[in-house]
């Protein structure tokens, strides 16, 4: 899921729409993010590739708006409301998610199981996940 410099990033994404909940004076989404280009990618427990500096979901408040919308822990956020999240600092990502004027955030998230599902649906007879072109005879 990390990027190869010079090549476009391809990923299977899921579109998730979260309605912000008004709590006292703030609008909360109900999850925590970690990662960013200014953070240390080696400490990320969710990424497959430890050089991936993307923004990941580290915690979901149970019953919160994100949980209701279907966000899972370990998801990598690719876009927020159209803005790219793969090359963002941690603080910029936070700001994009917590804009006071927006009530709804539309995220594009990716996770490993999505890619697996796509692979599986493409070719149901293959045994090896890594090589979808090999057909089990």
């Amino acid at each position: 899921m990390a990027f190869v410099p010079g090549q476009p990033v391809t990923a299977v994404v899921q579109r998730i729409e979260i309605k912000k909940l008004r709590c006292n004076d703030n609008l909360i989404l109900g999850f925590s993010i970690g990662g960013g280009i200014d953070q240390d990618p080696m400490q990320n427990p969710f990424s497959g590739d430890k050089t991936d500096k993307g923004v990941y979901v580290t915690r979901i408040t149970p019953g919160g708006p994100a949980d209701v919308a279907g966000l899972k822990m370990g998801d990598k956020i690719m876009q927020v409301n159209g803005w790219d999240m793969t090359m963002m600092t941690h603080d910029q990502a936070r700001k994009r998610l917590t804009k006071k004027k927006e009530d709804v955030v539309r995220l594009l998230v990716t996770r490993k199981s999505l890619q697996d599902t796509v692979n599986h649906s493409k070719c149901p007879y293959y045994k090896n996940h890594d090589n979808p072109n090999e057909v089990l005879k």
């Binding site: 909360i28 999850f31 925590s32 993010i33 953070q39 400490q43 915690r59 408040t61 941690h90 917590t98």
Partner: protein, 536 residues
């Protein structure tokens, strides 16, 4: 009413000798009850002028120059007449005489030896040059230009040698050490041997054979002077340079109150190290105040007084057969002391309580007196003002010089100062005369009250006080190793003075093994290790 009546043994008398001081104290103790009552009456002022310390002048002269409140305790007539010498004075006079005569003899002896050696050394080259002209002038070749050039060189080198020897050796001696200074003696012997060998050679090869080559003789004299300059260089290295680099750290502790300092010295003999330590002692250590030790002594006495050992049975403990009497007695004493120690350990002692409260009370009292003193001095200083030049011409009436000004404002602070000094047990260090002199000095130099008080609030180094507290002639060096041997790691020696001793231990500064590590300036690279998790 003052509560500090623990001891009133010392009072303010300027110039009173120590002998009659003690004498007076003894009789004053008899009169103590009376003096306590009369304290509130604020009676007699005692101002003896600064008499010579040798005569025990205990006259009661009531010169009322200052305020009545100055000498608060009454003096009783001590029983000695006006011009008596007490026993201690006589002993002290003879001791001083002995010391000075003994020391001077040795000093003069070494001085004469040194002067003789110096003259010998200085005149030898000149003798070498002059003797051929005197003894065989006809046979001598005339001196050419090169030879005369050598004369100038001899002259200047001799001048330099003279100045160098004067600078290095003829300085006023700082101290009298118990043993000879080994390096100097060795150097003197070396110079003597050197000069003698040159004379021998000269005598045999030149005088006997009456050599005509005068230039050779002049060159010989020049070589002697060169060699003497090199010996002087050796002397500088051995005497001055060798001990500059510190290689020992000495820990000096005063035995009475435990004040400790550390000094770094180079490679010195024990006696020279002791001298260096003593010079530092006079500059760094606070003055020795025996009055501060009386409290711990009384506590120690109380510890021992509580228990007594009675031998009820009269039986001796079982002792082995050899050495009948002594062994049994020693065994008995041993068991007695052990019993005392055990009983003392078991006893529920509340003396720590007393100590705590006593010290707290003392601190409080000192602080209170200090506050009163500071206020009194500040107020006293406001009464005088420095007069400018122009004003001096206008009003010549009431003008005072510093000494008179000091005497004018002194009475208003005298009582507070005296009480403070008595509470901190410093009153015997400062005589009234010295206080007034100090006050005049401070007034002359525009010092503030705080600056004036500084020398009374903290005990300063010994040099600050009067000469008779220095005891500079009464030091004894006590050492197990020979005092001319060098310092080693773990050397211990004692410097004993009359009341106390300084315990000195030395430790060698370790040999340091250093290795190097090269860091490329381009190798300093950093990454961020932040791991923040933000909830949105």
């Amino acid at each position: 009413m003052d509560t500090e009546s623990t001891y009133s043994g010392y009072s303010y008398y300027s110039g009173r000798s120590r002998g009659s001081h003690r004498h007076g104290e003894r009789s004053r103790d008899r009169h103590k009850p009376r003096s306590k009552d009369s304290r509130s009456e604020k009676s007699v002022t005692i101002n003896t002028p600064p008499a010579e310390p040798l005569l025990g002048d205990s006259a009661v002269r009531g010169e009322q120059i200052q305020d009545d409140n100055w000498g608060e305790t009454t003096t009783a007539v001590t029983g000695t007449s006006e011009h008596s010498l007490s026993q201690e004075d006589i002993v002290r006079i003879t001791k001083d005489l002995e010391d000075s005569v003994g020391l001077d003899c040795r000093r003069y002896f070494t001085l004469t030896l040194a002067v003789i050696l110096g003259l010998l050394v200085f005149l030898t080259p000149l003798a070498f040059l002059v003797l051929p002209h005197l003894l065989w002038p006809e046979k001598l070749q005339s001196c050419g230009t090169a030879c005369e050039g050598l004369f100038i060189s001899v002259a200047f080198k001799l001048l330099i040698l003279l100045l160098a020897v004067w600078a290095l050796f003829f300085r006023p001696p700082r101290a009298g050490l118990p043993r000879i200074f080994v390096f100097r003696a060795l150097l003197a012997v070396l110079v003597l041997l050197f000069v003698i060998s040159y004379w021998l050679f000269y005598g045999v090869r030149i005088l006997d054979s009456q050599d005509e080559n005068y230039q050779g003789i002049v060159q010989y004299a020049v070589s002697l002077v060169d060699a003497l300059l090199f010996i002087h260089y050796l002397a500088i290295v051995l005497l001055e340079l060798r001990q500059l680099q510190p290689s020992f750290s000495l820990c000096v502790t005063r035995s009475t109150d435990g004040e400790t300092r550390h000094y770094n010295l180079g490679q010195l003999s024990i006696q020279r190290a002791a001298l260096a330590i003593l010079e530092h002692y006079y500059c760094d250590f606070s003055v020795h105040n025996p009055a501060l030790l009386s409290a711990s002594k009384s506590r120690a006495a109380k510890h021992l007084a509580g228990l007594k050992v009675y031998n009820v049975d009269g039986e001796f403990p079982a002792a082995p057969a050899e050495g009948p009497g002594n062994n049994a007695a020693a065994g008995l004493a041993h068991s007695q002391s052990r019993a005392m120690i055990a009983a003392a350990a078991r006893r529920r002692d509340s003396s720590h309580n007393e100590l705590y409260y006593e010290e707290a009370e003392h601190d409080r009292r000192v602080r209170k007196r200090r506050a009163r003193l500071v206020v009194a001095v500040e107020e006293a200083f406001t009464h005088i003002k420095r007069m400018q030049e122009e004003e001096q011409k206008k009003a010549p009436g009431d003008v005072m010089d510093p000494r008179e000004a000091a005497q004018a404002i002194f009475p208003s602070m005298a009582r507070a100062l005296q009480k403070y000094l008595r509470t901190t047990k410093q009153q015997h260090c400062h005589s009234m005369e010295s206080i007034q002199q100090h006050l005049a000095f401070c007034i002359t130099n525009n010092m503030t009250p705080k600056a004036f008080l500084e020398s009374y609030l903290t005990p300063g180094p010994t040099l600050q006080y009067s000469r008779d507290r220095w005891l500079a002639r009464q030091w004894t060096l006590i050492s197990e190793a020979s005092v001319t041997s060098g310092l080693k790691d773990g050397t211990v020696f004692l410097l004993k003075c009359v009341d106390f001793s300084l315990v000195v231990t030395s430790k060698k500064i370790p040999y340091i093994q250093m290795s190097e590590e090269y860091i490329d300036p381009k190798s300093h690279k950093f990454v961020l290790r932040l791991q923040s998790e933000t909830s949105v």
